[in-house]
């Protein structure tokens, strides 16, 4: 997109470098002059927060590897050594373990924000799909990372999740043996996961690069979901406006993060993971990390092994086609009275599924899981396509400037009465 200003190298060295590698110009156009819709709210700071979390996880991870031993007989002890003996090891490990949870809190807010404001609609379909790919990579990375401490939950979580692949007809059992590198989850499995857990964050960083590239090519969506018409009136330069707003959002997020790290560092973990892995005893109640619980509930809701696995992966796969399931021309829920209600019902159902995933698979929990799973898919496959046809949407503001400052500023007239709210 056309920016607010153009980088002009002044000194001789700057000119010399710009002629050979225009990297300063690239940074200027994407992080300084880049036009940001002037009506963005704090939900738009989560992209920056997520970038920060990715870097933070890589940094804490790299230093933890200096002390961790990926060996089934030593892994658990090496984590305890990090906690007790390594200088600030407790801090680094708690930052990394809670950082994973914070990463998922931020990504879920980021995704729900995208759903609420219709950020996946044309021309942002590829941007959204890249985001879903990042989400999948994050899940794989987090799952493999949770196995590394080699506690009871690590071991049995690894067993249950790798066994999901055995549901695939014909080749399933061979895939599981290949993932394990043996006939059960064991030392070879731990080494596979350690290697991939180190690799995948860098793959994520690469896809994040594409995600940001796509974002900067099509421009950001905004709470009103109308496209930028006039850069001067509708947008502000990224620096200082978005940089500082992202900074404020990040500070509050880090306070939340620090509260967990320093006051309740094990709140999101599971006590069983402080028991060393025992291949002969399954804990009475296996639960995955909280961020997988909704998908785990969907897995258990279907009374068939293959069916459960298909439903669980389908729950993520459906996100890939979301841009084509939601057929409404209007992006933002602000102007979609019915969609807004269904959105909040969907959020409630997703949270309910998460709660059900933490409950034992019996009695009323099974029935509720089935109903919630059915609703999850109905939301995407029935409600969204129908809303696109039948919903009567509210009139959109003529421009972003109009919606923020009132119609006189933007100079639009016909749509003036249309904007029911003048302040975002």
């Amino acid at each position: 997109m056309q920016g607010h200003s153009t980088y002009r190298p002044t000194g001789g060295v700057a000119k010399w470098l710009e002629d050979r590698l225009p990297i300063v110009g690239l940074v200027h156009s994407s992080a300084v002059a880049y036009p940001v819709p002037r009506n963005l709210n704090y939900l738009w700071t989560f992209g920056g927060i997520l970038t920060f979390m990715l870097v933070a996880q890589i940094l804490t991870g790299v230093v933890l590897v200096m002390h961790y031993v990926p060996d089934a007989t030593k892994a658990f002890e090496s984590v305890e050594k990090i906690m007790r003996d390594v200088n600030y090891g407790w801090l680094l490990r708690y930052l990394h373990a809670n950082g994973a949870s914070m990463f998922f809190i931020a990504v879920y807010i980021h995704m729900f924000r995208g759903m609420y404001y219709g950020s996946y609609k044309a021309p942002r379909e590829v941007l959204w799909i890249l985001g879903v790919i990042i989400f999948l990579l994050m899940m794989a990375t987090a799952f493999m990372g949770y196995v590394l401490p080699w506690g009871q939950m690590s071991f049995w979580g690894a067993t249950v999740i790798t066994n999901l692949f055995s549901a695939i007809p014909i080749v399933g059992p061979s895939i599981v043996t290949w993932l394990w590198g043996g006939f059960s989850v064991d030392d070879a499995t731990l080494k596979h996961f350690f290697s991939l857990h180190y690799l995948l964050p860098f793959v994520i960083a690469g896809v994040v690069g594409l995600h940001i590239w796509a974002l900067h090519h099509v421009g950001q969506n905004n709470p009103d979901g109308v496209e930028i018409k006039d850069i001067r009136k509708d947008t502000v330069p990224f620096t200082p406006y978005a940089t500082l707003k992202d900074g404020v959002g990040l500070v509050f997020f880090l306070i939340f993060f620090a509260y967990f790290v320093f006051y309740i560092p094990n709140y999101l973990g599971h006590a069983d993971n402080y028991i060393k892995a025992n291949p002969l005893v399954t804990p009475a109640h296996i639960v995955p990390e909280w961020y997988f619980l909704p998908f785990y509930a969907i897995l258990r809701a279907i009374p068939s092994k293959l069916g459960g696995v298909i439903a669980m992966f389908g729950a993520i796969a459906v996100l890939f086609v979301l841009p084509w399931l939601d057929r409404s021309k209007v992006r933002s829920a602000k102007y979609r009275p019915l969609f807004k209600q269904f959105f909040w019902v969907f959020v409630a159902v997703a949270v309910l599924l998460g709660w059900l995933g933490s409950k034992p698979p019996e009695g009323v929990y099974v029935t509720l899981s089935r109903l919630a799973t059915a609703y999850y898919f109905i939301h995407f496959l029935v409600i969204l396509p129908l809303l696109g046809t039948f919903e009567k949407t509210k009139p959109l503001p003529a421009s972003i400037a109009d919606s923020v400052l009132g119609s006189s500023y933007g100079g639009a007239h016909a749509a003036a009465a249309a904007a029911p709210e003048t302040r975002g």
Binding site: W156, S166, W178, F183, L280, T282, I302, K305
Partner: protein, 187 residues
């Protein structure tokens, strides 16, 4: 043959490009295989020996769990009542009608005779791994007098057959043989 001739005969040039590309792809495939295959079980894992168990210590009704190839194997000295209960079950009631017994042909049916040790019907030897997602079921629990998997609620009967829940198959019977009256060799 000059360059000008090639330009007049694009079909020949295209064929050479495609053939070269195909060879390169095949070569890449061969090179990729070692990178994939190295993750499969290595020679040491494949060479895992068998395990011998003395059954003399197992009293009637008791289930013991021993480790074989990194997995638990349940050995159950079943009581008369438990055997009768398993025998009474009609094959039509079973979700999985295959015996899943590696000592028998793969089309053997899941009768109690085909599940228990041949000629010693009180002994039931099964791999203690739930056929759903690999948890270890709890012995002497569940609604069918056998095992209950705590992870996702699969119930197995007193012949280790799946009766209710998400597991698709009966508990597997590993290859084993009696060596004398009170000793078995698994594997």
């Amino acid at each position: 043959m000059t360059a000008t001739d090639d330009a007049h005969d694009p079909g020949r040039r295209d064929f050479l490009f495609l053939a070269t590309g195909a060879w390169a792809a095949a070569g890449a495939g061969f090179l990729a295989w070692p990178f994939i295959s190295q993750m499969n079980p290595d020679a040491a894992s494949l060479a895992l020996g068998s395990t011998e168990v003395d059954l003399g210590q197992i009293s009637e009704g008791q289930v013991i769990s021993i480790k074989w190839r990194g997995k638990p194997v349940f050995i159950w000295n079943r009581t008369k009542a438990q055997i009768e209960e398993a025998k009474k079950v009609d094959l039509g009631q079973l979700p999985d009608k295959s015996a899943r017994n590696e000592n028998l042909p793969s089309d053997a049916q899941a009768t109690d005779v085909n599940r228990a040790a041949s000629g010693k019907e009180n002994w039931l030897v099964v791999v203690g791994v739930c056929t759903h997602l690999g948890c270890i079921p709890l012995s002497n629990s569940g609604d069918f007098g056998g095992w209950l998997c705590p992870c996702h609620g699969s119930h197995y009967d007193s012949a280790g057959r799946i009766r209710r829940g998400p597991a698709p198959e009966n508990l597997h019977v590993p290859p084993y043989a009696f060596e004398g009256d009170s000793k078995i060799k698994i594997g």
